[in-house]
């Protein structure tokens, strides 16, 4: 007979590399951040638009995954909880640009209108 459990498996994710120049907080060790992925995740399709099934499939699953300059989302979890768009070279790991994701998302919305 086994005990019943309400608790989940133990697995703690954290850390990772490099120095990211936070637009508000200056240079921060990347171990303070959590990585999400391609910044195209900002471009969430309209749920009731045309071909939305296909668009959501592409949004959710297909990635350019370039060898070179890559715009990507990092979250300052152990900091001010900003989502950032970091432009980073995936071969050299050099960081070209860091922006607040919210600023970019706002610009996109304004443009869409």
């Amino acid at each position: 007979m086994k005990k019943a459990k309400a608790t989940n498996p133990i697995c703690i994710r954290e850390l990772r590399i490099m120095i990211i120049k936070h637009p508000l907080l200056g240079p921060r060790d990347s171990s303070e951040f959590v990585y999400k992925g391609d910044a195209s995740l900002l471009d969430r399709p309209k749920w009731n638009g045309q071909k939305s099934e296909k668009k959501f499939y592409e949004y959710g699953y297909l990635r350019k995954n370039p060898a070179g300059s890559h715009r990507e989302l990092w979250y300052h979890e152990q900091g001010d909880r900003s989502w950032l768009v970091v432009t980073r070279n995936t071969i050299s790991h050099e960081i070209e640009k860091v922006e607040l994701a919210r600023d970019i998302a706002r610009k996109k919305k304004a443009k869409a209108k």
Partner: protein, 416 residues
Amino acid sequence: MKYSGLKIFLEGLTGNKGWKPLWRNPEPKPKYDIIIIGGGGHGLATAYYLSNTFNIKNVAVIEKGWLGSGNIGRNTTIIRSNYLLPENEPFYEFSMKLWENLEKDFNYNAMVSQRGVMNIFHSDSQRDAFVRRGNAMIMSGADAVILDEKDLKKMTPFLDFDNARFPIKGALWQPRGGSVRHDAVAWGYAKGADAKGVDIIQNCEVTGFIIKNGRCLGVETNKGTIKSTKIASCVAGSSSKVMSKAGIKLPIESHVLQAFVSEGLKPVLPGVITFGAGHFYVSQSNKGGLVFGGDIDGYNSYAQRGNLPVVEDVCEGGMAIMPMIGRARLLRMWGGIMDMSMDGSPFIDKTDIKGLFFNGGWCYGGFKATPASGYCYAHLLATGKPHKTAESFLLKRFEKGLIIDEKGQGNQPNLH
């Protein structure tokens, strides 16, 4: 050339003069029946099974660098078939059976060493999940044993039973799991394929595909145009890079995974041990080095090197379960580029372009899959139909909602 103890003895007596190269270094012919892009483990295995099992010999393997320079040459050498999901487990068990006969098959000692793979659990719910998995394994014809704390204390007395932050409660053990001398797998497959006439062309990089009317007719390379009606990409780690030349976007991100080896030590570990409450797994090579690893670095990368926090994270995991390795020293660390797929499971499939095939998305689990991946890819290339154990590894499975997510992490590659 047939290898045996006798052959070594006779060569030893005659000054080792009679050994021959394991493979030729041919120039590419203008045309082949099948071109395999990628001379790593999976590509060479595909060529081997095409030529040895499916009797298709007019095959070229084209490799950007040296044969075996991909992830077959930079992994932690573990083989196991301890998967949960019905789309995966039969495939990995098929692979395990191929491993068990591999050396006889290709007459090369790749040191397939079945000393067991142990997944330690630390909580009741982890145990429940492992019981479910162990049962799934047995139901698919694999072997699995649930060990309790007492069993573990006998087998691995050096684990930290007394002072662990997360108590060690037992393990799911696969006795047939183990490790293999990774480079020798590439060499053995290359030798076997070459012997049947497969051209393995090293230092040959694909620069483009020849595509006409939705059909792939060949590749452009730094050694010229090579034609074929079947082109098979097999370049995990660089899949997006290569397939983008054909205009195909994949459900894959490239990530770096680091691996580590310690200085040589007299035997200390019985088999492969994985930690269930942190990122750490370890085995000991025949040369005595502890071969270990943990999680991927976690960001898109094509650099074959990682960073410090992961090194520390992995060593912390090691010290948390086996503090007796504290005075062993890390000798070397390196990184490999993984095709991290959207659900953590691979692809062996046709593409929308006729004649262009795709094999990739192996995440950090490609090594153990090498024989079955090669076999199933060869099956698809030769017969046009997927092998029955690889029917779910469809490139467009997500469009329909078929998800093979062992870890339950969703469509974010770095979490698998």
